[in-house]
């Protein structure tokens, strides 16, 4: 009897950890979008969550409304959101480079409101969804470990995306040009890198990553205009990881996700929403630069 109960606890803990990791992957992917843009352009994009929301609605249009194949709709949603991200930088944000940071904050916050309003006008304010190959299916791992395919697909999808991004940034000329432009714009110009275009492409990648997060999230959450508020938790994840570190964003996201799940189970109701911020505060008190942050010391 005691052994059985112990087993159950272990399985429950494992399931909480997997659910938390899945939620954390979504936070991590949105956080990754923050970090990519920040590293390159030193702009903090407070509309990152809303880009994810738009990605979700694009996918809903392609798969739910037009009845396209899930994978085709997935690809089209990424492409459409990425194109939107590119245009957003090329038309709007490029103009505020070099302006005070609060101008960028106000601009992106304003854009977030506009996106929500436009999405509400186009797709309505009711929550919608569509069926994915992973909806309501379980994967039995034996030993009583049964996990939802939806959560497992989020984790696997995130791993694949990270691998592709890693190869892109380390192997391709464009990826290396992006790294170079992030480190030193002036020098990058004289290496023949079209820095402005590269920055717009970084916006496209951030938006594309947000769209992947959105589509991965569909099996576990409905799509509505306010789903972009997840960006606040993702922001906490990015700061936790040391804002500016790509692995940090993902690790930060997963920590926030797991802590939330555990708090939801073991702590009184309502504490789930607080924990991510409590963890963030605790980490920042101990390591002010975040978990993976670079320490920048100024000689004075």
């Amino acid at each position: 009897m005691g052994k059985r109960a112990g087993m159950d606890d272990l399985v429950r803990l494992l399931q909480l950890a997997v659910n938390g990791t899945a939620a954390g992957c979504i936070y991590g992917l949105v956080a990754l979008g923050f970090v990519l843009i920040y590293k390159a352009t030193e702009m903090v994009n407070f509309a990152q969550g809303e880009l994810m929301m738009l990605g979700a609605f694009f996918a809903y249009t392609f798969v739910g409304l037009w009845g396209l194949n899930y994978w085709l709709g997935f690809g089209l949603a990424i492409a459409a959101t990425a194109a939107f991200g590119y245009a957003l930088d090329a038309v709007v944000l490029r103009r505020v480079i070099g302006q005070p940071q609060f101008a960028v904050v106000m601009l992106t916050l304003g854009l977030a409101f506009i996106f929500r309003a436009v999405a509400g006008a186009v797709w309505g304010y009711d929550a919608v969804g569509f069926t994915t190959p992973f909806t309501n299916k379980t994967a039995n791992f034996g030993g009583g470990v049964v996990l939802g395919q939806d959560n497992v697909s989020i984790i696997i999808g995130t791993v694949i995306l990270c691998l592709v991004l890693y190869l892109f940034f380390s192997r391709t000329r464009l990826g290396i040009a992006m790294q170079a432009s992030s480190q030193n714009q002036l020098a990058a110009y004289y290496m023949g890198i079209p820095v402005r275009t590269v920055f717009s492409l970084i916006w496209a990648i951030s938006a594309g990553v947000a769209a992947v997060a959105a589509v991965l999230l569909v099996p576990v959450q409905m799509i509505d205009v306010n789903m972009g508020l997840i960006g606040i938790k993702a922001f906490a994840a990015a700061v936790l990881g040391g804002f500016g570190s790509i692995p940090g964003a993902l690790v930060g996201g997963i920590i926030v996700g797991i802590v939330e799940q555990l708090a939801g189970y073991y702590l009184p109701a309502g504490s789930m929403e607080l924990t991510s911020n409590i963890v963030l505060l605790a980490v920042l008190i101990v390591w002010p630069q975040g978990l993976f942050g670079q320490v920048i010391r100024k000689r004075v």
Partner: protein, 263 residues
């Protein structure tokens, strides 16, 4: 025509300030051409116009007969013009070798998918880039710093790395912005040797802005002296230094203009 450069009636205004006014000069292939002048004379302004950070208010710039007055700055490298910076602009979170390889960027033309798949053509191109980078490392004697992060290298070495990165773009014209700034006497002397080697062994045309008159005299074929945005004198180093106008501008008489050129 290869490596020749000319500026015609170049001028630059910032609001009401005439930083550069009616400057005309020609640089021959394989020549070391130095621009000197007191602070605020307009040296860096001219340099930034050549490297297309500033668009001239008037006049034109020609490289190998081609008008480059309005070309985008990132296309400069592809034409065969490279530059260094007074305050060093390297990719400081990358290694020396990586910095040099980025210098090869403008010579790479492989598709993104074949890069992701690391096809044989990509492999061959990478080996070639690496070989050229190693040649530059050997040329400048940087072997022992090859895999170190730029952030960990001393200032004097970084200055040479920047020179190396510029050479990796295989330039026909090299723009050096105060190559001696921040260097001690021996390092400055060494920098002079590198400049002479680059000119003699690689046949690269060099335009240089410099304060250190010893370095200028040692390496320059011709010197252009500026004051308050106008040409005072052009000629060999000795001719320019004995020009009474130049002496007056340096030692006294001329009022000190605003220091827009100081950075």
């Amino acid at each position: 025509m290869s490596g020749t450069f000319s500026a015609r009636d170049l001028s630059m205004r910032f609001g009401g300030i005439r930083a550069v006014e009616g400057v005309t000069f020609d640089v021959q292939k394989g020549e070391v051409f130095s621009i000197i002048g007191p602070n605020g004379a307009g040296k860096t302004t001219i340099f930034n116009m050549i490297s297309r950070i500033y668009t001239p208010s008037g006049g034109s710039l020609h490289f190998e007969g081609q008008d480059i007055t309005r070309i985008a700055p990132h296309r400069i490298a592809g034409l065969g013009i490279a530059r260094t910076f007074q305050n060093i602009e390297l990719f400081s979170h990358a290694t020396l070798l990586q910095n040099l390889l980025i210098g090869r960027h403008c010579h790479s033309h492989v598709g993104i998918l074949s890069q992701l798949a690391f096809l044989p053509s990509v492999r061959r191109a990478e080996i070639e880039h690496r070989r050229r980078a190693e040649e530059v490392i050997e040329f400048l004697g940087l072997q022992r710093y090859r895999d170190q992060l730029i952030a960990n290298l001393p200032y004097g070495v970084r200055k040479v790395v920047e020179l190396g990165r510029a050479l990796c773009t295989e330039p026909k014209l090299l723009l050096l912005d105060e190559p001696s700034s921040g260097l001690n006497v021996e390092e400055t002397e060494e920098m002079g040797f590198w400049i002479q080697d680059i000119q003699k062994d690689l046949g690269i045309t060099i335009i240089m802005v410099e304060h250190d008159m010893k370095l200028v005299s040692a390496v320059s074929d011709r010197v252009l002296a500026l004051n308050q945005g106008r040409i005072l004198s052009t000629g060999t180093s000795a001719e320019v230094q004995s020009d009474p106008e130049v002496i007056r501008a340096y030692i006294g008489g001329a009022p000190e203009p605003a220091k827009e050129d100081a950075a």
